[in-house]
Amino acid sequence: MSSTIDFAIDLGTTNSAIARSTHGGVDVFKNPLDLKQTLPSVVGFRRNRIIVGDKARELLGKDPENVFGSFKRKMGTTETFFVANTSETKTPVELSAYVLRELKTFVHTGEEVASVVITIPASFDTIQSNATKKAGYEAGFEEVVLLQEPIAACLAFANNGDRTEKAGKWLVYDLGGGTFDVAIASINEQELKIIDHRGDNFLGGLDFDHRMVTDIFLHAIFSNPALAYLKKEYEERTLDFRRLYQVLLLKAEEAKKQLSVKETVEVELEINDEDGIEEEIIISVTRDQFNNCIHEKLSYALDLVEELLIDNELEPADIQQVILVGGSTYIPLVQELLKSRLRIEVNASVDPTTAVVVGAAQYAAGKQKKVKVAKKEVADSDNEVKARISYPKSSMDSEEVLLLDFESDIESHFYRIRREDGGFDTGIRNAVPKVREFLTLAPDRLNNFKVEVLNAQHAPVPTNIPEIGILHGKFNIDGQPLPNDICLEVDDLEENRTKLEVVFPKNSILPLNKTVYREVSKTIYRDGQDKLIVNVLEGDRYALPETNQAIGIIEIDPAKLDMDLVKGSDLEIRMEISESRDLRVTVYLNQTDQEFDHVFNSSEKYVSTTRMEDELSLLIHNIRKDLGQKEREEDFEMATTLREYLAEAMAVEEEVALMKNTLSGDEKYHVCERKRRLAQKYDQLGKHARLTKLRVEYYQLKERLKKRIDENGDKSASLRFGEIVEHENEVMKGQSVYLMEGHVKKLESLNNDLYINSDEGIIDLYHRISIMDNSRFSDEKLAVNYKDQGQQALARQNYKELKVIVFNLLHLLPEKEEKSAWKNFKGTGIG
């Protein structure tokens, strides 16, 4: 456990933050609810609930009797805040303690934070400083060390750069969302101290947003004749106008951020005219226009800087550098004015929004702890708060009720429920024996909620309450699950065959719908014979396509196309399955802007003669190939079975050919079923043995490759290896020979690449090619020449050159005939 404080909090007037120093630097913790690094310093009291941060800020000004912000300005005064909802009085210290406690919840590392550095403004006197300390103790910290904000900021900059060069006087220019502070710091090898400071508690980024709205947006809106009527609404501050003003403020904030990096932004607005018809208005805002809006405010800030320098009898030239703190210093004009008016170097090398907390954490890293953290008590089941909970595991509603019956004494306790994705938070609520809480659910997903029980100091206590998971929308207990995978047949051009792509996996709950986006795998000519075939199959996704049952097929005749359908053009295939299992398939061809659709009834079977011919042809090809191999291996038992299958397949093929003229409905289904059963039998034949063989092959190759990669330390090969191995489990579980073969091929390809890129590999390959007879090369003379050059390169040990020569020789060899190439492959046309 660390002996230094390490943790630091920037307890700001507008926003606060918490950070921890680590060996590698500083971690600024993020709010688990929204992943922002800052928390608005606002506290709200809603009946028996306390909310801190963003949600409270939304209500600031709307409910002034119960929601409080900027209480930091009142620290150390006798001023109090009366909470109407609870009829209690809260001090600025108590309100600050709520913010500090909330910041503690940002610490996701599970560490107990007993000691902390808290920053205070340079202007804070002893009473105000002590009040801040008191807030820290009230929040449950056992040790609080204070640090002035400008000093913290200086530390962040000093530790980020070269301290010796910058020794001297620094100006800390801190322009936040609502406040402005400037301080002069003196920095040298021994110490860092604040000489003097100035500030304005009512100047910041929010003022700039208002100026953009009033000076630019409203001017443009009122000058539009259709919207001129809004001027009167503005003067009367009608509800409609206030709604519009909020939208404009949000747009202004967005535009302000963009103008920090762009010269011009376009703001799009849709505003109703007097008759309620939407008028679109685009306002182009240049950085110059924005600068004009805020120039006066920034000049005033510089006046304060100059006053500060004069009061301290300093010239701008006496200042070594200006360091920028606060989010509003991102505005380019801030830096431009500082440079042009004061002619001082401006340093913006540290993130201005977190500079104070980062510097404070760096300070905390060197500050010895005075209190020891008591070891966390191991949760004892006798001491934990016990509760019975009940809630539905799934829901179709947007909110669900959670019942909590506390069985332990929970007097002076609180509870808080938060959704794991950050979308729901009850805030801190008084615990009562029976709690009934409505939880808001995110749509179509699993919603996990965490229930925390807190003691009087708002620290979590152990409970027996597990994490709560409610599945929304997707699960309907009355829904029917799919008995098999529903797949789309697509082409695999590398293997000259088709494969299955799962669209709806087995056990998906009906009804279902999905759009699949694919490309056309071959050009389909209007005057050609090839059709585009959308074949939807039901069965096992890992089996051969021909073993599955076709449940819907759309064959797009080329004559129906408005133009040739070019290879690579896009296809959209939408599939919808109703609860009664009717399948609707819609095919949209992007290139021709044509749509084809069909509803397939679940009680009918769909058979395409074209697909059947294609499938049978492939089946016969594969059986023949296997038969030849088994005969060579003298596996007579297997060969006999394969011969039977071949005979059956050829008989079915003959039947299809005969059927073409006399095809009756029943006959077609019968032949199709015969083909499917044969394909299933063939797929299963020796499948186990083939899978075992492939698995052994895979693991042996994997082992060899791993060793080779470890030895040569090739990072990109290691990455490729990792990517292949990552999907290993999925493939092994799949029971698909086809997938296994593909996976082994990937390893083989990596192995080949490593071989060819190694010196030993290229030497070996050269020797193997150089002993080949010259007559085997397409240009004998050139081959002899290359072989000579190779010999010389080998003698010089120039393996790069040898590699080029080997490739040249390889190009002179005739291309290998693809052994397994199935010449008659037609496919579906879907890639």
Binding site: E58, L239, R242, Q246, D421, T440, A442, Y517, E572
Partner: protein, 105 residues
């Protein structure tokens, strides 16, 4: 991350425009396609328009127009949608919706 959020927000705006102004040139199809690709990267968005609003909804950043009356507020306008990123066991909200909230009539 910022750029992805920007793209999602633009798609959301396009959807809103198509819904209010009609889609005479079939752009909806392209928008759906873009949504599909974003989903492949784990990004989905959700429009909470007209839903009830209370201050426990930390999936929205609300600007409240008029008075706040607990239990009687709704989302009257959505400037930016809620954006989820799939990752790990459950998705996380990477952008809260930016909404205008007002009292129900």
């Amino acid at each position: 991350m910022e750029s992805i959020l920007g793209i999602v927000n633009q798609i959301f705006e396009m959807e809103q425009k198509l819904a209010s102004k009609g889609d005479s040139s079939g752009v909806t199809r392209n928008v759906n396609r873009m949504k599909h690709y974003l989903e492949e990267y784990g990004y989905t968005f959700y429009d909470p328009l007209h839903e009830d609003y209370n201050d426990m909804r930390t999936d929205c950043e609300a600007s409240i127009v008029g008075d706040f009356e607990e239990g009687n507020m709704y989302i009257s306008k959505v400037i930016k949608p809620i954006i989820f990123k799939e990752g790990g066991e459950t998705p996380v909200i990477i952008q809260k919706a930016v909404v205008i909230v007002e009292k129900k009539a």
